[in-house]
């Protein structure tokens, strides 16, 4: 009964997951998952209204269900008393945003708006606001807006402003009716504690906010669209709170449905990648965390604000209070391997894997691990889904070179893994060249736990040690840590996320160390990668873009 616990809820694309963590040790005592009832809505609204191409919506009600189902479940699983839970915090995908009314109710909950697509919540991967993003970028460039450099020179169509602009362009009545637009992570936190305390992470990385300079100017927004002149005051908020604070306390109503005590501390909302940093124990500059999944997000703390070409963003207090949080990313990592396995791996490999009693990824990895560095003769550019950092170019595509009639599936597999490692090294070099040091790498996410060959390749290519998260629930653990910080030391939690990270953040004992012989061999291959990276990626031969343009024409012709 003396032990204290904290709950972290991690909201993913398809489901939400709660973990119950012992505050004094960081041990995950119980966990529960709830798939979203409506899932991703990319074809129809719940009432059957058809959605356009590239849309991706979710149902805000699903997020509340996650709390109603998973929190009682972890309490029950663990057998602890609700009084032992001192804090709670969440993390989310971003920018996942919705229009709400004055009371905070999503517009899509209004009976008369339930058939209006723009009244709904737009998921991070809603990609239908590209035209708006283009306009934003164009005007920002023309006006020489300095904020652009903090975002690698380009605003993504996934972010807050393009999404708002799409609503304004296509459903001005929804724009007018919306009291404000809010990140889902802030909205769910508001539902928990009844207070709107917007977090510095999404404001900074997804909505162009800067701690000293605030949002872009009224003049800028006016130049984009006169109707946007007062978008910040009218539809967003200038009250932004750094991560690590308490947002409020659990309301009676939410206490009733979750089974927790009213008044339980609720932390400022967070984002899935960024929240993972303290969960692996990073509390200082120079250590980059790679969150490896279908894509990879790289988060790094720095002590100064530097402009790094092609980064995704630099935000003060964006990851840990008092630090500049740098974000970069690779748009296609696990997705490469999944594509290969689905579209390119022949029957016989599946049969051989089954005979060996292995999954296909494990089987190809074991075969690939027997190759010496360079033995496949292959080299690839990891751009099957464009390039996020450092080229920031969605129109780049994949390339592979070196195939012969003897080339085998596991060689293709390894070549794609190596390509993502080379891509990572380009990011690291770019940070280092911009004066942001990277001394050590950390990794979390399923692949980092499962694929030892890949982690060794990353260590060999980057010539840096790599530590691996101890938990496979790093973001949820991170959220629970922010819950313990929101509770504070007096309640049995922590005074700061730094204190929490020292105790609760954990990596495995095993550290991947660069193998000098492989480092030397990869140096040669990386040099080749770099030549091709620049040739195809920096304008020397824009064949990828021309092929994409020809393809776009052909697709229209073939309709």
């Amino acid at each position: 009964m003396n032990k204290k616990y904290s709950i972290g809820v991690d909201y993913g694309t398809q489901s939400g997951r709660a973990v119950l963590v012992e505050v004094a040790t960081g041990e995950i005592v119980a966990q529960a998952v709830k798939e979203y009832t409506h899932g991703v809505m990319d074809e129809y609204l719940p009432d059957g209204t058809k959605l356009d191409f590239d849309w991706a919506l979710e149902h805000p009600r699903d997020y509340l269900e996650v709390l109603e189902v998973t929190i009682p479940e972890v309490l029950q699983q663990s057998g602890i008393q609700k009084e032992q839970v001192i804090g709670l915090a969440i993390d989310f995908t971003a920018c996942t945003m919705l229009p709400i009314d004055k009371e905070g109710t999503p517009l899509c909950f209004h009976e008369e708006l339930k058939s209006v697509p723009h009244a709904w919540l737009k998921l991070w991967k809603h990609h239908a606001a590209q035209a708006q993003a283009n306009k934003l970028n164009k005007v920002a460039e023309e006006r020489g807006e300095e904020f652009l450099a903090r975002y690698g020179g380009k605003i993504s169509s996934e972010w807050m402003l393009p999404k708002i602009m799409q609503i304004l362009d296509e459903a001005p009545e929804i724009y007018a009716q919306a009291d404000r637009f809010i990140e889902a992570t802030d909205w769910v936190t508001m539902m928990l504690c009844g207070e709107e305390k917007r977090n510095s992470c999404t404001a900074g990385y997804k909505a162009l906010w800067h701690k000293q300079k605030g949002y872009p100017s009224k003049e800028f927004f006016k130049a984009v669209d006169p109707r946007l002149e007062n978008v910040v005051e009218d539809k967003l908020s200038n009250d932004i709170y750094p991560l690590g604070l308490k947002a409020g306390e659990l309301t009676d109503a939410m206490a009733a449905v979750t089974g927790l005590c009213p008044g339980t501390a609720v932390g400022i909302a967070n984002v899935d990648a960024h929240v993972a940093v303290p969960a692996v124990g990073i509390t200082e500059a120079g250590k980059m965390l790679m969150i490896i999944g279908t894509s990879t997000c790289d988060i790094l703390l720095g002590t100064e604000e530097k402009i790094v070409p092609g980064m995704c963003g630099v935000v003060e207090d964006g990851v840990m209070p008092g630090f500049f949080g740098y974000e970069a990313g690779q748009s296609c990592v696990g997705d490469h391997f999944e594509w290969l396995v689905e579209q390119c791996i022949p029957k016989y490999s599946y049969e051989d894997a089954a005979k060996a009693g292995m999954g296909i990824h494990q089987y190809l990895t074991e075969q690939a691990a027997e190759l010496t560095v360079g033995e496949s003769g292959l080299l690839a550019l990891d751009w099957w889904n464009g390039n996020r950092s450092v080229l920031v170019d969605v129109d780049l595509t994949g390339m592979m070179i070196g195939m012969t009639l003897s080339t085998k599936p596991h060689e293709l597999y390894r070549a794609l893994i190596e390509a993502t490692a080379y891509g990572k090294n380009i990011i690291i070099e770019t940070f280092e060249n911009a004066g942001v040091a990277i001394n050590e790498l950390y990794a979390c996410g399923g692949i980092s736990l499962k694929n030892k060959m890949m982690m060794q390749i990353y260590s060999d290519v980057t010539n840096k040690p790599i530590k691996i998260a101890a938990s496979d629930q790093t973001p949820a653990l991170g959220a629970a840590m922010f819950g313990a910080v929101a509770a504070g030391k007096d309640k049995g939690g922590y005074e700061s996320i730094f204190d929490a990270a020292k105790v609760m953040g954990k990596v495995k004992d095993e550290v991947y160390m660069p193998i000098p012989e492989n480092v030397a061999a990869y140096k040669k291959l990386y040099a080749e990668y770099k030549i091709l990276h620049d040739y195809f990626g920096r304008g020397e031969n824009d064949v990828m873009k021309r092929l994409k343009a020809i393809k776009a024409e052909a697709v229209i012709k073939n309709r």
Copy 2:
């Protein structure tokens, strides 16, 4: 009993095939195949002697068996009288060569030499004489030998002189004991009629012979190796006969085993690709025949000797008497598609093909045929097996660009087909730029009959009409035509191969015509291919060679 027939025997890599053809119509009346009893020997001699890496031998006895089995069979099938067969000729792979004694007996038939690998017959794809080819090329370049230009600047390790040099280097006693070295096609013809009449085709394309200038000089051979000074006089022959002549008449002994009449006319020996030209009715300059198989061989008649960069060879009387025969080639055509199907086509494509009741090639082709030009967004360099023409570089490797997470197997398949079409167009442009006109394309070989989409793509990419051989046994038919010419007009045959070609050579009625819309679309894609072809193939970025060198090192390390 009035009808006259001719027999053609086509010697392939694994088997020999005889066709019985009606002389007046070119109709194939009967055909029979005999697999070689010993097949390709690339690991062991018949007595168990181990062979080195890259060796490929055959058993000369197998070739005689083909005659003993298939000729009686076609006679029996057709029910005709042996007196009705007026002529016989063969075609062969080349350079497929063997050492013989003074009597014409292969050295490997000598009991005391049967365990000596170099006493055996070396198949065209015996690749163990690369060191000798390199030396030959080096000396020829250093001495500025003009013959080099007639062979695209490079002598292949597959040809006669490197093979002889390997014997001299590794088994000088066999070199000494050999009365002479001879092409298998000439040797089998000699077995048929008892006369050695070496043909101008293999002499020209595979042994550096020139109708006016003869073989390279004694000085050249001496510079290569003093022991080779008199190689032509001592081990080859200066008596070379143009195609279309009679080599001799069937001996009594061969008449007895084949069931034909003694004295039946036997034509000068020929080669499988070159013999196909009259079989599709080509009798004039400007028409290029593509013999499409695992690789493609291109044969073209010209009226002058021009130097075309990167061609395989130009030989007077090398294809049709009185013309300069040009040869070029692509080292990897059907092999590309086979590699893809074996190593890269996923289970689900095979399942879908089975559901549709189709073979995998047919299924992928049908899916690929639904794509508009450019719709895949993909572009490949067709160098999985190096590049024969016009870069003449075995160290080049494959490349593909434009892949996304949506790329599907049938798109990869089409991209490889298109790559071979672009490669073909490079060859055509190179000939045209050198002043050798190409007005029309002809195609033969299984793929050309089966894959209509591919032939249409070739027509669209090259912007030329393509006619397809009427028979799937084009080389054997061509050999039978030379048999009818050897018999002569008086015996019911033809006076010349030109006369025979007009009657017996045939193409299908259907002609592939360029579709203007596709021609325009492919023009853009070909322009991109050409940029990458030159970038990777002409020294701007030798990454393929560097990767191959790294691979070679790594393979040694991993042993």
